[in-house]
């Protein structure tokens, strides 16, 4: 089992300033799953509860001179603590930038999988090692990682990953991620369970109901991707709740209940600076999916080398 690659400047900035801070909010521990062509950062794929997040990078998006080999079709997966990885990347960046004036190719950041005998230990332990060559010095940082996943676990991971690629039939675009996050963060104080209704008319309706309070927000006329329908004209004069109920009754909307905390976490992904975000409900109301879209810088074209989406567990099948 071998893995060795150079992190590109673009890769460093993607991880350091965007993805790792966002993924850190999803949970402390994350799986890194490396294949011949892709690197995946995965949260909660092997557990049934908690929000699943899947960040996928084509190897060229992060690495240069990417070499991987294993007896399991060149696939390697292990768990690690995101905050440690983020610290290692940040400090490597600072070493590189200290000598930033020097010609660039010398300051390459190599990462590789190693086994080392840590002090006071009898057993060698696996590490992800960052090697930075500065102007006069070289710095090596070892990020402790879990034992690589067994063949069976890797297969399970791959299977869950394949299953998680199902797209909801209707996706609505979130109008303003920051504003929505602000709202949901404040909503957290009022209750724990959030009803999310998404309609083919482009409505996103969020509502918390407890015995004392009902608090909701409705966003209408959002961009719809996938199955869409024309909103009935008499809809305009109704309350948000009635509108949602009617749309569900007509089969034009789905509703699920998720944890407000999960929903708010999913919005934290805006730290990865996506260009837009879409919410949708998976078939049979299996989960609430949020898909983040990234554009090729300077264009409105989807950057297919990066993808990020989250799946929020549904607490109650709702009225799907």
């Amino acid at each position: 089992m071998k893995f060795k690659a150079f992190l590109t400047d673009n890769g460093v900035s993607l991880l350091d300033r965007r993805f790792l801070p966002a993924l850190e909010k999803m949970g402390k521990i994350c799986h890194l799953f490396l294949t011949r062509d892709h690197a995946f950062f995965l949260h909660n794929l092997l557990s049934t509860d908690g929000i699943q997040s899947i960040a996928q990078f084509r190897k060229q998006a992060l690495f240069d001179d990417y070499r991987i080999s294993s007896q399991n079709e060149d696939r390697i997966a292990f768990a690690f603590d995101i905050s440690l990885l983020l610290r290692a990347v940040r400090s490597s960046v600072s070493i590189c930038s200290e000598f930033g004036a020097a010609p660039a190719p010398a300051n390459r950041l190599q990462i590789k999988l190693v086994k080392k005998l840590p002090p006071n230990c009898t057993q060698p332990m696996p590490f992800l090692t960052f090697e930075t060559k500065g102007y006069k010095s070289a710095v090596i940082q070892d990020v402790p990682i879990s034992k690589p996943l067994s063949r069976a676990q890797v297969l399970e991971l791959q299977a869950t990953l394949d299953a998680a690629q199902d797209l909801p039939r209707t996706l609505v675009q979130v109008p303003d991620l920051n504003r929505l996050q602000n709202f949901v963060d404040r909503m957290k104080h009022v209750g724990d369970l959030l009803n999310v209704t998404i309609s083919k008319y482009g409505n996103l309706h969020l509502q918390i109901s407890t015995t004392l309070i009902t608090l909701g927000a409705e966003f209408r006329k959002l961009l719809v991707v996938g199955d869409k329908a024309q909103a009935p004209s008499e809809d305009r004069d109704l309350s948000a709740q009635t509108r949602s109920e009617r749309a569900i009754a007509m089969g034009d909307a789905q509703s699920v209940q998720v944890s407000v905390r999960h929903f708010s976490k999913s919005l934290q992904c805006h730290l990865a600076k996506p260009d837009c975000a879409f919410y949708g409900i998976a078939p049979q109301g299996a989960c609430l999916t949020v898909i983040f879209q990234f554009f090729v810088p300077g264009t409105r074209l989807t950057d297919k080398s990066i993808s990020l989406h989250c799946r929020l567990p549904v607490l109650d099948p709702g009225s799907s």
């Binding site: 602000n182 009022v190 004392l212 309070i213 608090l215 966003f219 006329k221 305009r236 004069d237 309350s239």
Partner: protein, 303 residues
Amino acid sequence: MSSSAIEADTSNLVCQLDNVQGIVDALSTVRWKRHQDALVEVSEHGIVWIVEETGCLQAKVYLQKELFIRYEYTAQGRPRFGLSLGLFVDCLNTFSVPGHSSTIEIRYPGPDMQLLIKSADSLDDCIYAEIRTRIPETISWDYNFEPAGSTPLSFTVKSAALKEAIDDLEWPGSSIQIILKPVPPSVTFRGEGHGDLQIDFMYYANTDLLIAFHCDHQVSYRYKYKFLRATTSNIPSSVIKDNRGSKLTIGRGGMLKVQHLVSVARPSTSHQHIDSAGYQQPSRIAYIEFFVKPEEDEETVND
């Protein structure tokens, strides 16, 4: 706005306001613990929020109708209802978007006696809430604050200085003595407990802190620290920024009245000229009053 035709029939209070954060600030001032019940009284003049604790501390927030951009009250009398203050503040907070001035509409009562709130900014996006109200509990004491004598015993101190002094008195804790002396004109806060701490405001020495002072004879009363602290612990930062003063008056029997002024001016004006905002819109101030009962003499001995 017309979308709520169903609700319009039952409501006899319909009001709109354009500074949600100001109202959140004003109500947070009297929120000294997380779960707190308030009594709300609606009248043609505005809305009054009353909060109290164990018959020793009462706070009132006056939201006069001038604070609202629209205030329509069609019923007679002064209906009262009970509401969870914490829930209302948390709920109102979700309507306040930093950097945006948001307009909201409040209606009471809804079809099921709820308090209804909704955003009134955009037709396509809408935030709404319904909060269940309760049959009001009677207030255990609705104290008519009476002056102690012909001359009022009062002083006005910068809110920031008052808060700082009371925060500092946490260390000796339990019971705080407030002494007003005409010669030399001064106010003393004195805490005795785990140690002694005395904070003096001298009228002539600190005219910038102690802005006004009226006292013709020496008085001294003790108050429970936790109640005194409740009067300043949640003063909103806008009060400190606006450099406002708080007025403290001692009434008959040692009843302490603490008054704060919280600006509910439109965010656009308060951003630029904080000092002048209050003068430009003198009516857009929420008045907050706390009433603190003094400790009984025998209690102080036991303490």
